[in-house]
């Protein structure tokens, strides 16, 4: 595509970005990184820290596969710069299970068959945990509303809602 090629050429001609030093606190551990300022939180987690549980789906914040928690609130890792997350407590899907013991929400997703391909599942589960803690799991309708930022191309939606309904009492409000 002509437009795309022109944009690429301009990008290539631009001077290389200077790296910046940041420290990210992920799942209770501090990670000192040297990154290009453009690095998103998702890429920092996946490419620099090696936590590949959070997924890159649409890359534009529309699908929710990249959902992680920042100070307990859900954010889209793909639309948050890593540098913005410095000083905040970052939690990813890798933090939920206690060894081999699944988090109640993970167990509920298994029990209710709330996935097919599983690609969106880490984002779904991070959103689901936040949805319950926020107090938005009062009804199936409310859950559907507050989970609407997470797409599932396999359309496991009814089972996802059922999993959240069943796990909610064990998780409780924040």
């Amino acid at each position: 595509m002509v437009l795309g090629a022109a944009a690429e050429a301009r990008t290539a001609a631009a001077p290389p970005a200077r790296k910046m030093a940041i420290t990210l606190t992920v799942n209770g551990r501090a990670h000192a990184l040297r990154i290009d300022p453009r690095t998103t939180l998702l890429d920092a987690l996946r490419e620099h820290i090696g936590l590949t549980g959070s997924k890159k789906g649409c890359d534009h914040g529309q699908c929710g596969a990249c959902t992680v928690h920042l100070d307990g609130e859900r954010v889209l890792g793909r639309l948050t710069l890593a540098a913005q997350a410095e000083g905040h407590k970052i939690t990813t899907i890798e933090w939920l299970a206690d060894g081999d013991r699944l988090h109640p929400m993970q167990a509920a997703f298994v029990e209710h068959d709330a996935l097919q391909c599983g690609y969106c599942t880490p984002g779904q589960i991070m959103s689901a945990v936040a949805c319950v803690r926020e107090g938005h799991a009062g009804s199936e309708r409310e859950i559907a509303d507050y989970m609407s930022g997470n797409r599932c191309r396999c359309a496991a939606y009814p089972n996802i809602v059922a999993a959240i309904v069943s796990a909610a009492p064990a998780i409780g409000r924040a």
Binding site: R10, P37, R38, D59, L79, L81, Q84
Partner: protein, 99 residues
């Protein structure tokens, strides 16, 4: 995405000073304010917005910038109010459901 610099400020007047320049409009200015980032980062990936520096303003503590006020004249949303804060605000839900 084009190369950028990232900086933070904790003062609104400093942010305004650093972002003001010769560009004909704020949208074309080389220094752009970074709040939530949802719109800006997406438009930068699409090469629509082309800033050279992002100035993170989320650490400005000014309570007015984080607050929602309703008066007989209308609704005032601080520049750093999050979508979630606005969506869960009692008066916004009651009087401004479309927002």
């Amino acid at each position: 995405m084009r190369p950028i610099a990232y900086a933070r400020t904790t003062s609104a007047s400093d942010a305004v000073r650093r972002a003001s320049g010769s560009a004909p409009s704020h949208a074309e200015a080389p220094v752009q304010f970074l709040g939530g980032g949802t719109q800006l980062l997406d438009l930068m990936k699409l090469d629509v917005m082309q800033p050279t520096e992002l100035l993170d303003i989320t650490r400005i503590a000014d309570p007015r910038m984080h607050g929602i006020e309703t008066t007989p004249q209308g609704l005032r949303l601080g520049a750093l109010v999050t979508m979630r804060q606005a969506a869960e605000h009692t008066a916004v839900m009651r009087d401004y459901p479309v927002v």
